[in-house]
């Protein structure tokens, strides 16, 4: 059997149709879109316009509300720094959920240096933002809240609509990182009520090195990249034309195939979940049981360390992800980088147990046989690793289990 890729939360392959749409823009239509008056620049310029339209449609935005950027990280930075700086006369407090991606989280220190107060909002054991905590931490000084639409580590989808409604009444801006949802499930920025939202095509069979920020009409935002007037002055720099074209095409296909993809992924991940639940003792699923990304299954297993599990799965041809500090910081030089995943810690998994976590994120091309194959090999691996674990030995002798139900 070929390799089984179950790490789509990390990235997806580029769709063949997407690649075909991109190719002419490398050699034939290579012109600079800023030189729109000459023939070479005209086509690329038009292509960007079309792509903008397609991306806008994907999230039910207006074309003018889409700003192309270089990555989801850049979009998150543009939104948070940009909104904070543009609105600092109204207040200087910013609230960020506890389970945000590092591209949101790690802006806190930067903002503090510039006089902003940053606080973090708790989540419950399923990873859902605690509205009470948000309400308690919200002051008259609060200008911006950032809550991701879905968490790619545990799959939980946040109640953005509810949060937006609450904030809107108080005149507080809401940024949402839609990296995990846009192109994967239907997203309607108008219904959600967000002011800005990050959209990243490499999560739905588009290219890497390009992303977008949805910015509601009339939103005040200061750009931090100065240069030409590309992207309405919000993101200077010659456009990544092939990337943007691919983004548009991936958005178009995602919209077209959305229902089919969601249905297929939901069915497959249910089978995976049920199969794991019935064959593996000491397994604990993470994230919300129903409000979760289709195709996403995450769990930890008592007495089994995540990196070892990931390595064995890899040796069996299965690519997965681990929240294990050991696996995710494999190349980190700084030993202090060995912290358990902040997401798992936030949902209440004890740090020494976080290291056992694994997530399987399926994609549109995964087959039932692949899921069955995973289910057939994983019990053996788990048994082997448990057999090696001094913790399992201790638990067996004392009858005490290692973890608590989360």
């Amino acid at each position: 059997m070929d390799r089984i890729y179950l790490d789509h939360a990390s990235t997806t392959p580029v769709d063949r149709q997407v690649l075909d749409a991109m190719l002419p823009y490398f050699i034939e239509q290579f012109g600079n879109p800023s030189s729109a008056l000459i023939e070479e620049g005209g086509m690329p310029n038009k292509a960007i316009d079309e792509a903008r339209n397609k991306v806008a449609k994907l999230v039910n935005a207006e074309k003018e509300e889409i700003i192309f950027t270089g990555s989801a990280t850049e979009s998150n930075n543009l939104a948070i720094k940009g909104l904070a700086l543009a609105n600092k006369d109204k207040g200087k407090k910013i609230l960020i959920s506890d389970i945000e991606h590092y591209s949101v989280m790690n802006q806190a220190d930067f903002l503090r240096k510039f006089g902003f107060e940053v606080d973090f909002i708790k989540v419950d054991n399923y990873g859902i933002v605690d509205l009470e905590d948000l309400k308690n931490k919200l002051t008259d000084n609060t200008i911006l809240v950032s809550v991701m639409h879905a968490n790619l580590e545990i799959g939980t989808i946040e109640p953005i609509e509810e949060i937006a409604l609450f904030l809107m009444e108080r005149g507080v801006l809401l940024h949402s990182d839609g990296t995990g949802t846009c192109g994967r499930i239907p997203v309607d920025v108008k219904n959600l009520g967000v002011d800005t939202m990050t959209i990243s095509p490499h999560q739905f069979y588009g290219p890497k090195g390009v992303a977008a920020l949805y910015m509601k009409r009339g939103t005040k935002l200061i750009s931090f990249i100065q240069g030409g007037s590309q992207e309405m002055g919000y993101r200077a720099g010659t456009e990544n034309v092939p990337g943007i074209v691919g983004f548009g095409e991936a958005a178009r296909i995602a919209m077209e195939e959305m229902d089919e993809r969601v249905e297929g992924l939901t069915r497959l991940s249910r089978r995976l979940w049920d199969g794991l639940a019935s064959s593996i003792e000491y397994i604990h699923f993470t994230g919300h049981p129903t409000k979760r990304l289709p195709g996403h299954t995450s769990f930890w297993i008592e007495f089994v360390e995540g990196e070892s599990l990931l390595l064995w799965l890899n040796l069996n041809g299965i690519a997965s992800a681990s929240g294990s500090a050991c696996a995710s910081n494999m190349m980190a030089v700084d030993e202090t980088g060995l912290r358990a995943s902040h997401v798992l810690t936030a949902v209440g998994v004890p740090p020494e147990i976080c290291s056992g976590s694994i997530s399987f994120s399926l994609g549109k091309d995964n087959k039932t046989e692949e899921v069955e194959h995973v289910l057939s090999v994983i019990p053996g691996i788990v048994k082997r690793l448990m057999g090696m674990s001094p913790l399992y030995e201790k638990a067996r002798k004392s009858g005490i289990s290692m973890g608590k139900e989360v």
Partner: protein, 128 residues
Amino acid sequence: MAKGPYSDKVMDHFMNPRNMGEIEDADGVGEVGNPACGDVMKLYLKIEGDKIVDAKFKTFGCGAAIASSSMTTELIKGKTIDEALRISNEAVTEALGGLPPAKQHCSVLAEEALKVALEDYKKKKEQG
């Protein structure tokens, strides 16, 4: 073999750990844990005279931790206590063909487990 940050030697010891298991009537047992990563290593020694005649381990940990435990048992079998005490984590790492920088502490865990096991042996002996 799957290409990754681990050397072939590390992967070999990870996939085929040597001396994995317990020694029921061990003369020295050392259990250590790393609070930063949550990993736990347990080493069992059988000692005759001043020679380590058998060593076994159990490890809850990453690939590097499992490989380090396995390699440590290989390195100390047949050695005298004094010789074993001189085995540093660098020696374990070297024998494994190197470890990624972030994984150096996994071999430290093995060195610590060995020291604790030997201390345990001494203590037991003193107590008679």
